[in-house]
Point group: C2
Chain length 423, copies 2
């Protein structure tokens, strides 16, 4: 008998018929001889509707009360799912995050899980019940207040429960069939990956693949929880996210896992800053105080005549105003001449653990971009990833060119049923 | 400085602008120098919508999961109200029933409050905050599960908190101006009562006046909590519900508090049952096993020739099928000839503590009904109430006739702003 943790997102539980379909899948998993723990998100647009209500009350809702408000969403879906599973003749019991023993930091709206005390869940499982757990939420023990985990929180809840319960697998159900070699909306020949390593998945997620959030993959890697990403609408096998040692010989693996892209970033160039020690530190300290995450950084070769240089960096486009305000606020300290922003950029990344042991990957990547007429503005690399920044309107072409160059295009003429790797 | 507990019903918090109005009233009460605890119901039709969702999933939702589902409603309204009060510049903190220390029995959907441990509320008050508490819900300590209190639960929450915190007053805000001498939709000359005793209010509520539920009044009487029923839409003084000793000399009080009516009951007549000891017990034991509450009972004078008699009783019309099934199920044991049901009845009641010391009240009541041509089918009395059952279509006429006969009609030509004592 296996212990299976299943996670269903908002689109999988959008209405009564969707909830009933999920309940049947849970019941089938139980009838196949498994113990099942289910993590569930809020139904469809519930979270957005609750946020709208809060914004109708006040422009600056308190974080503590916002978390109380938002956790009502999973409360509704978990109760309804328990009813639907009962209606399938299978015993089930619903638990809030606090009841399930999900212990978090105190940061309302973006809390991190620090421990899981799954005593009540273990008791329910021992009694032969399906345990249903509200995703996205936990308890801060000192204040005894409910917290929410922020983006990707429900996936992380599922992985954290799987780790604490030593589950055999954490199944993440979504509206796509798995992880693809590229976004099928851009590359119709993209193939579904049978498996991918945690490291590759982390780099895919950080590079724009939206099927899983980096924090969830990071948690799974730390506790070695096998993740199975699959569709709640089809019965197909999806993509397994696992450590690179457990799925056969890594040398047998393909060199490249996939091509990811991201159009959600913007670029800031700080022009004419003194090329002396400490200037870059002062610049990025200002940005860090505004709680803005930086992605790529490029510093120009200094013009020796003037002793001045330029620094460009990329960041989420939504945070550009905050970053500009932070840098402007320390204008005298940083001592720059001008700030230039650019929101029309895109990032294309090639990810594959096989890069480590295969020479020539970078050369082939840049050649493919050159042949497609794509100009490169910034470059960043890790041991299993190469990323470039280019014009936003060149991204689709770049992704297709790289996908073809690395022989990732499907030769089997498989129909790709779902429209994207992103939600 | 006074401690004021305020309760706002669903119509008072139906949308964002209603919530903001409530927040201003709370802020005004704080600025007038009071400590304030607020109990809030779910917004508008939220509870009905959640019940519909559950019914779309299954015809027989589990009571435990139903309570988890329904408590999401108050969770939303309490969080939004806290935000709205903050926006008025007043510190506030929202608490679920369990967080507020509301301890209940384990009966999901109809739990009773058995204790209130208001430590967290007292701490919030001591810190100068408005404490907002979700009405209608509590915690069963052994299962650690949330429970709901059933009909009238939010009013009862408010009174229970007022008792535990030794509040100076429990203000119940509603969509009418207070308790009236009759339903103003039927009697336009009905007057708002300045005060009414717990006992009179209990009999008014039990006789069909919907402004307060009997269980809330009963709780207030037991702990001697003064209730102030008033409108959340006007600034008017409402009706005080108090013990009869604290508002001056009871002999000065008017003899009659008001005329109540109820069209929600039905009548069952059990025909031809043996007039021997134990038959009535057997009949009503069957009804009690179906958990049906009986109101009035009349047994005919026995026809000595046959040794058989008839028994009529009234009950909520919604429970008539359950009662018939229960009685039919013990047909042989009770030994009756036939069952007759009647759903076209109405009840008219005259309530007043002054009846105790004033002769002739019954005579005047029956004379008024006779002069209005209203036929009486059943009669029931207590020391402060007379009730009669009549045809449903004669109720309005009966209420008006009695109201006039006891000089309850307003002579001041006051405009009655709101449409009824019921919701």
């Amino acid at each position: 008998m296996s212990l299976v943790v299943q996670k269903y997102g908002g689109s999988s539980v959008a209405d009564a018929s969707a909830l009933k379909r999920v309940a049947r899948r849970v019941a089938d998993t139980v009838k196949a001889g498994n113990d099942v723990v289910v993590t569930v998100s809020a139904m469809g647009d519930t979270t957005d509707e609750l946020i709208s209500l809060a914004n109708a009350i006040t422009a600056a809702p308190d974080a503590r009360e916002m978390d109380i408000l938002l956790t009502a969403g999973e409360r509704i879906s978990m109760a309804l799912l328990a009813m639907a599973i009962h209606a399938e003749g299978v015993p089930a019991q619903a638990f809030t995050g606090p009841q399930a023993g999900v212990i978090t930091t105190e940061h309302h709206g973006r809390a991190r899980i620090i421990d899981v005390a799954p005593g009540r869940l273990e008791k329910a499982i021992a009694e032969g019940k399906v345990a249903i757990v509200a995703g996205f939420q936990g308890l801060h023990p000192e204040t005894q207040d409910v917290t929410t985990l922020g983006r990707g929180g429900s996936d992380t809840t599922a992985v954290a429960l799987a780790a604490a319960l030593r589950a055999d697998v954490c199944e993440i159900y979504t509206d796509v069939d798995g992880v693809f070699t590229a976004d099928p909306r851009i590359v119709p020949q993209a193939r579904k990956l049978a498996h991918i390593t945690y490291e590759e998945m982390l780099d895919m997620a950080a590079s724009g693949a939206k099927v899983l959030m980096p924090r969830c993959v990071e948690y799974a890697r730390r506790y070695n929880v096998p993740i199975h990403v699959r569709s709640s609408f089809s019965g197909l096998e999806g993509t397994w996210v696992v450590s690179d040692t457990e799925e056969g010989d890594p040398m047998e693996d393909p060199i490249i896992a996939g091509v990811a892209h991201d159009r959600s970033e913007a670029k800031i160039t700080v022009i004419g800053i003194p090329d002396v020690p400490g200037t870059a530190a002062r610049l990025f300290e200002a940005v860090a105080r505004a709680d803005v995450n930086i992605d790529m950084i490029v510093q120009n070769v200094s013009a020796t005549a003037t002793g001045l240089t330029d620094i460009s960096f990329t960041l989420p486009a939504t945070r550009i105003d905050d970053a500009i305000a932070a840098i402007s606020g320390d204008h005298d300290g940083i001592g720059y001449a001008d700030l230039v922003t650019d929101s029309s950029i895109g990032k294309v990344s090639l990810i594959g653990a096989g890069m480590r042991s295969n020479a020539g990957v970078s050369a082939k990547f840049f050649a493919a971009l050159r042949d497609a007429g794509v100009n490169i503005e910034m470059i960043s690399t890790s041991d299993i990833r190469i990323s470039v920044v280019t014009r936003a309107d060149k991204v689709d072409e770049a992704v297709r060119a790289v996908h073809t160059a690395f022989d990732l295009d499907s030769t089997e003429g498989e129909a790709v049923v779902y429209g994207g790797t992103g939600r």
